[in-house]
């Protein structure tokens, strides 16, 4: 660690020495107390303000070395730290959502069929041994994952953690995996290929589909990929979709995350703060999305052989961030619920996840109903249905800030904090 210089932490001093003049460094600024949280009245060149914390007078920003010098001279600022990455290993995020408590009851997703529709899968990874039922390819590259994204997502949903002695176990480690490769090795594809993957999964009678992919927002849920998802849901399949990574601006949930009945998943970190990148609603027709949030920041899960996506941990594991990483957490919870209660419909499962989610105190266009929890989804206590709240009028797209909304409460389950 470097030596502290005035208001700057030692690590930040060291980073500044190695940084280019135009690079934006993630920093945490501590203000003098008491301080009314407010943004700089005039935008400062080289400064992008992020999250302002409420419990303590801290603010998260990205700043160039020159802007950091200017901040240093602000008498209201006491200290400036470098914001360092933290890692939510599956051994952190999975217990955080209380999946092991559901496993302890005998439900690991065993026998439940999950389709991961993505960049393919590494079929030789020890974490999937004996549990990949079938793979297919719609890209022309073959079903093996040469990108790493699909393998990571599959292990978050259903990896056994075998290559880590069980440490990096997914949410539903007993589930059976179906992998459809619809994104090429560069992580890109076409909606028509995704729809073909969904049809393939429907034909195999999977029970859960996990889609850690999407297009640019906003959308209104009427495009053909959204309708394909709705058709899968009508056939009894629960579909989990990533909200997107275009936050914190409003109207950034893309297709198929804007489909009405899919479970749209935003990302939070393992301390339940919404990730700034997580896409925000509303949809272009004014509906609240995402539906829930789940851990999606620096998630360590399976690494496909020969890939180097994200931060490589070792031969078998890699750290990635995105709503892509949050979505298979949701798919895993769905699998746990379906093993325990096979007759649940997709809409009942959605209501379970949303109705028992833990309110993080953020607006619904950021958190949906809150952070979902496996144990609460399984054991949430029924409550009388509240009167539906009329939806807020549709705001016009392009506004610079998140509009005030009315939160629509779901019937069925009472929220309570994790024990």
């Amino acid at each position: 660690m470097g030596e502290r210089r005035g208001k700057l932490s030692g690590e930040l001093v060291r980073t500044l020495r190695q940084s280019k003049a135009d690079s934006f460094i993630p920093i945490i600024v501590r203000y003098r107390e008491p301080r009314r949280i407010m943004r700089h009245r005039e935008p400062m060149r080289g400064l992008r303000e992020g999250y302002h914390y409420r419990l303590r007078p801290f603010a998260h920003m990205h700043a160039t070395p020159e802007a950091i010098k200017r901040l240093e001279k602000d008498p209201e600022i006491l200290e400036i730290f470098e914001d360092k990455p933290v890692y939510a290993y599956l051994d952190t995020s999975v217990p955080h959502i209380q999946a092991p408590r559901v496993w302890a009851e005998g439900f690991t997703g065993e026998g439940v069929r999950i389709a991961i529709i993505d960049t393919g899968i590494d079929p030789d990874h020890p974490d999937f041994q004996g549990r990949i039922a079938e793979t297919t390819d719609f890209t022309g590259e073959g079903p093996v994952d040469h990108n790493g994204h699909g393998t990571h997502c599959a292990s978050t949903a259903a990896g056994s953690g075998a290559a880590s002695g069980g440490l990096y176990r997914g949410v539903a480690p007993g589930a059976t995996i179906y992998s459809a490769k619809v994104l090429r090795s560069n992580g890109e594809g076409m909606m028509s290929d995704v729809a073909a993957g969904i049809e393939w999964a429907v034909d195999r009678q999977v029970q859960v589909i996990s889609l850690s992919l999407g297009g640019q927002g906003p959308c209104d849920g009427t495009d053909f990929l959204c309708e394909t998802c709705e058709a899968a849901i009508e056939r009894g399949i629960t579909v989990c979709v990533a909200a997107g990574n275009d936050g914190p601006s409003a109207y950034t949930v893309g297709s198929p995350g804007c489909a009405h009945n899919v479970i749209t998943v935003g990302a939070a970190n393992d301390t339940d703060h919404i990730a700034s990148f997580s896409s925000r609603g509303p949809t272009s027709d004014g509906r609240v999305k995402p539906d829930i949030v789940l851990p999606g920041v620096n998630i360590i899960a399976a690494r496909a052989k020969g890939t180097s996506l994200g931060k490589v941990i070792d031969d078998y594991y890699v750290a990635l961030s995105g709503t892509s990483m949050a979505t298979p957490h949701a798919a895993g919870i769905c699998a746990l619920l379906l093993q325990a209660e096979p007759d649940l419909t997709p809409l009942e499962i959605k209501q379970r996840l949303m109705g028992t989610a833990i309110d993080l105190g953020e607006d619904p266009y950021s958190q949906g109903q809150g952070r979902a929890d496996a144990w609460l989804a399984r054991h949430g206590e029924p409550t009388p249905a509240p009167e539906p709240t009329p939806p807020a009028p549709s705001p016009s797209p392009g506004q610079g800030c998140l509009p005030v909304v009315v939160q629509v409460l779901l019937w069925g389950f009472k929220r309570k904090p994790p024990r």
Partner: protein, 86 residues
């Protein structure tokens, strides 16, 4: 809702010789409709039964012709998607 959004239609009119990837929602049997499109010289990439759609590749002028077919319900661009890793 019309068969196509105004922006797409204008793009095809302005670029009649350019090739587009499109989704065509059809009335009736998807396989039968696919065969009809192939007879018209269009490349059918995907037959999508769940949504009653066809993923096709054709020139802008052909897309405009498709709009006249009574069994074509809607045409929209086949848009790119990507893995949502940050």
């Amino acid at each position: 809702m019309g068969k196509v959004d105004a922006k797409s239609q204008q793009t095809w009119q302005e670029n009649p010789e350019r090739t587009f990837d499109l989704i065509v929602r059809v009335v009736g049997d998807v396989e039968k409709r696919a065969a009809e499109l192939e007879r018209h010289g269009m490349k059918v990439r995907r037959r999508l039964r769940l949504s009653g759609s066809l993923g096709i590749r054709c020139k802008g002028k052909k897309a405009l012709e498709l709009l006249k077919l009574p069994w074509v319900k809607r045409i929209e661009p086949d848009r790119p998607v990507r893995a949502l890793r940050r």
